[in-house]
Point group: C2
Chain length 669, copies 2
């Protein structure tokens, strides 16, 4: 028997779970009822259109079998049928296929969610090789499947998280109530047992200050205990404050998480960095769910810009292909595309970039084939909004984000052109992969054209840097475009040197203040061999949070702030996320630049190990690849590499050493 | 208090119920299980893409109130909130609005269906005046509402049919089982009570021959009786045969129907015609449900070409605006439009035509405003498939239907150009109504251009008729295009005369054989004053069915066939529908041409009564209008008109008489 998967119309699973997750956000509101002021949890709708899954599916497979096989259809809907060589059967019927050619068609409908099918078999087992047909208007596409759903008893409508019962690590009476501390940020259902029936308010906090500040807490749960019990919807918190109770309630947590296997590690002589790496890992794991979330408390939404960075962290942490593919589909949504992804132009561009990156890291050609038609639709949408010569143009209903920073707002921004240019390159590479020559040629040409125009229009010789905009006459220089010019290799080596001097090391240019864009800056700095800036940041920025007691990485950190000032953001007293995925970039930076492991050809078929001791005395760590980890150990005396895959080269300065699979390689320094 | 409606994102209700209804089709299949051959009901998927509703909704209203009002949100989902002047409340909260300006926003999510809202109030009562906002990508559209859902306890997810318990009119032992006859075609759930537990097969038939022919019946129900009871899904049938039982089961029917009020009547000296009118009425009512169905047994789907004719019958029967609007939305589906409506080009064109017709009959400007953006999307889709000069073009994936007839299949068909031309006209009139001048001018010009090209390219002077195609050189003449030329007023009076002589009265031109296209032929014949052809058909075609015992009108009737040959169609022994909406056209024809009532200006603001005795000795009947019926009585001596509305003119030959509202007008002949 071959491995069977639950299958569905491509994207249906991701659309369904995306719809659910994007509608789970709540926010606490103060409401006065019958003269009594109280805090109520209120539904908070998504900020962009969220699409439901298609409720119909038709999938088929045509194949010749040499041996008889008996197949039986399982489905999550009764409105379904299986047609074998033109003859229709209901589900749960054993059908014998004799040797020869057969055409098997599956059809189903489910109003409440989406139809899914499962068949055990040798050739006609359900998996990605089945294709759509007929009336879905997306014919000849591969079926959707997930590694999480391979058993006939699986329920594809329930996302397969793992669960673990947890108790608070402490509780104490305070302010006329009880404050529970779960030790660090958690996510899951709060469970009350053996309590007196009635209404209880749970004021939740990532900090204890937030939990105790009932009037301003971001999240709360209004618990109605009946027959002594209550179970909440899943929520994120570290602290729970229950006001107006004398004796502590019997509270526990049904911790809910995606069982991602961390395949990476990093340990060095600096304990703060070791603690940081572990904290980044936990932060990342809490935000890795149906897709990559921005933060586990506030939005719990999937944002393309945030996810784009999470992909890179993931390639250096769990190397989980499934979550990347799910995230890409969640972000894509369904047709018609009428607004940018998350309503942000650059976020659409990152989405396009992410597909080639995914292929380059994983070598998973199948997914590129599957997503390619969706990619073309995105490109079509983008091109419908470009200027006549195909450059980025600022439309009135676009959110031109790039970063929380002040740019010259006059016209089309240089940094946007650069991500657009890179996304054209991604499309052209994917087009080449799937054999779409016409698109490949056209997009490659356009990518080259945009690069040329960027260098022509946005380069300011006087300032030796790229400017935000060439229309305003202000010649405003920010770091963003200049960082991209280096990182995406968009200009000459001479100009890069000029940028390093005139922008990167120029203290008069406004510094990057968000950890979001810091990811790109640190990546660019490391790529030009300046590791000190990064290791200093590990200590000052990330270390600063840890020294304040952070057990997960925050959305933003400003060392000049004090006390609960740290928790303020977007105008809300506690609106800042204290467990934010984009803070986990040290995992990527240390893996790529300290351990120095990175692919030089698709799917790590070739890769280099170029370790840098940086400011460390020694370190040891592992980087995951599709087929096994690469372990690197380094101190001032030697480097040792042990790899489970072929194709590696150890690069030490000018010297190169071939890495043999499974054989430890030690080179003295 | 103003009248409140349940409201939703425009179209959500129709998409939801359309999705359910299009997935309710089943067909009986012979299955051998453990060596025993049996008949099983199998799911039969829709033949086109069926869209689900949007699962999110955001609706708002901004208004100034003079008097305080207390509002409270009802919703079918808990994932919802109401925001009043920026402050959010959960549902079921009483909120006081003080005099002044207020902005009220409603937001909600429902995964299993679609979110709906209800508020009682004076100004902030929920109705069509609320508009979409924010993230749905269809901003500033009016909320959807239905006259069927005006109570806070309504459930918008259950279509509001009426129910009536019915018993079989007879039962008899036959073929080792029992045959039940319900007297005429019915629709609803079959209920078994007090039966022995076990499995039963119900073989259903529109004819008793079908019910008894287990191996070939179109529909069956596999009943599992538990605790003595069973209730089926709703099905259509007149006869039920239960094989292998000795004593009759206690079977009843929960008859399910839309309570449409017939506001028309027709009675004359010809009993067959009287019986026919009543049979047409019943046929029409059985097929009038969420939308207009083609037939109640087989598909129970909504087809645009069929529905287009049902609209006209409806304007002369119940004049129910709601079902027309629902049908139009059901046919439209959701974005993106990737295939023609029902996959048939002409069906898309009829859809476009139907909107202006609806407005012309009803005067309901609001609906045209609401559907107009969807109309433009349809036009955009259509235009993406036209030839470079904007004429109809035959694309490989288009179903060019027009009729079950043999056309010259060489190139773009004349009749298609004609419906396209009419649909451009409809768009231009609607554009004019909503004030979209650019579209009005463009589409009017294109309509004129197509008309001109039709007359230039497709007119054959030699044959004095329009030909199917001008490329093939075959100069094939069929009736279809020539009928449309008259009916849609697409050519000169001289050419019309030529058509009448060379096509209509030319027995060498293949006759129309389907009642579907007969609708247009009879309409055209009557419009040129030839009523004999129509009244002869009433007797021969429709009368032929009645004489064979038909209690509902069939999909097709061929008097040369015998016995169960009548029930064969599409290659199935009983696949013909014996209760088919398109057979009900006599209601329209008798109302429009015998009673002679028709609007001459929008919404019957002006109308004419131009009665024709035809072959009758006398008749009396009523025609509904938006604001009341018009009753007409006629014999050889006189005509009497009684109208409940203003604006009427009685036309008798060259003479015209003003009809005074509420006052009987009798004119001697």
């Amino acid at each position: 028997m071959s491995k069977s998967y639950w299958i569905w119309h491509p994207g249906a699973f991701e659309l369904y779970h995306s719809m659910l997750l994007h509608n789970r956000r709540t926010s606490a509101k103060t409401v006065t009822e019958n003269g009594v002021k109280t805090r109520k949890s209120a539904y908070y709708p998504p900020m962009w259109r969220v699409d439901g899954p298609p409720h119909n599916a038709e999938l088929m497979k045509k194949a010749t079998i040499d041996n008889e096989e008996v197949i039986e259809l399982f489905s999550n809907t009764d409105d379904c049928a299986i047609r074998v060589d033109g003859k229709k059967y209901p589900k749960n019927t054993k059908i014998t296929l004799f040797p020869g050619e057969h055409t098997v068609e599956l059809m189903g409908f489910k109003a409440e969610s989406f139809p899914a099918f499962y068949i055990k078999g040798n050739v006609f087992n359900t998996d990605r090789t089945w294709t759509t047909y007929n009336n879905n208007c997306q014919p000849n596409r591969h079926a959707g499947q997930s590694e999480l759903y391979t058993d006939p008893h699986d329920n594809v409508e329930i996302f397969k998280f793992k669960y673990e019962k947890m108790l608070p690590v402490s509780k104490k009476a305070v302010n006329g109530g009880v404050l529970y501390d779960f030790g660090r940020e958690k996510f899951g259902k709060i469970i009350i047992e053996n309590a007196q029936d009635g209404e209880y308010l749970f004021s939740l906090g990532e900090s204890y200050e937030e939990a105790l500040d009932i009037d301003f807490c971001q999240l709360c749960v209004n618990a109605t205990v009946k027959d002594g019990n209550f179970t909440s919807v899943p929520v994120a918190f570290r602290y729970i404050f229950v006001p107006n109770i004398d004796t502590p309630l019997d509270i526990s947590l049904d911790f809910e998480y995606l069982p991602l296997e961390t395949r990476a590690s990093f340990e060095c002589d600096d304990d703060l960095v070791n603690q940081l790496w572990k904290t980044c890992e936990y932060t990342m794991l809490l935000n890795s769910r149906e897709g990559f979330f921005d933060g586990i408390k506030r939005d719990r939404w999937v944002w393309s810009g945030d996810a784009y960075q999470s992909y890179f962290v993931n390639y250096y942490l769990a190397f989980d292909k499934e979550i990347v593919k799910r995230t890409i589909r969640i972000l894509r949504g369904a047709e018609p595309m009428l607004k940018h992804i998350n309503t942000i132009c650059d976020y659409t561009f990152y989405w396009l970039c992410s597909i080639w990156d995914y292929y380059f890291f994983t070598g998973d050609k199948g997914f590129v084939f599957d997503i390619y038609p969706d990619m073309l639709e995105v490109l079509r949408f983008v091109e419908g909004r470009l200027s006549p010569d195909g450059m980025f143009d600022r439309k009135s209903d676009d959110w031109v984000f790039m970063d929380w920073s002040t740019f010259d707002p006059a016209g089309p921004m240089c940094a946007e052109q650069m991500v657009l240019c890179k996304s054209y390159k991604s499309v052209s590479l994917c087009a080449s992969l799937v054999g779409d020559t016409v698109t490949r040629e056209r997009t490659e040409k356009q990518s080259d054209y945009i690069k040329e125009q960027i260098n022509k229009l946005y380069w300011c010789e006087e300032k030796g840097a790229f400017i935000d905009d060439y229309n305003s006459g202000r010649e405003n220089v920010t770091r963003h475009a200049n960082i991209f010019a280096i990182l995406f290799d968009l200009t000459s080596e001479d100009r890069k040197k000029s940028i390093v001097k005139n922008v990167i090391y120029n203290k008069e240019i406004t510094p990057i203040t968000t950890p979001y864009f810091e990811f790109y800056e640190l990546d660019a700095m490391c790529s030009i061999g300046d590791f000190k800036y990064m290791t200093d940041m590990l200590s000052s920025y990330w270390g600063g949070m840890l020294r304040l007691g952070a057990t997960t990485i925050w959305e933003e950190f400003d060392p000049t702030k004090n006390g609960i000032e740290h928790y303020e953001m977007y105008g809300g007293k506690y609106e800042k996320s204290l467990c934010h995925a984009w803070g986990a970039s040290p995992i990527y930076l240390l893996g790529k630049y300290a351990l120095g492991v990175y692919p030089t050809d698709v799917g790590y078929s070739k890769y280099e190990v170029k370790p840098n001791l940086m400011s460390f005395k020694h370190f040891k760590g592992a980087v995951p690849t599709p087929n096994g980890t690469v372990t690197v150990e380094m101190n001032a005396d030697h480097v040792t590499v042990l790899s489970k895959i072929d194709g590696g080269t150890l690069v030490l300065g000018e010297k190169k050493y071939s890495i043999e699979k499974g054989k430890e390689l030690t080179v003295a320094l």
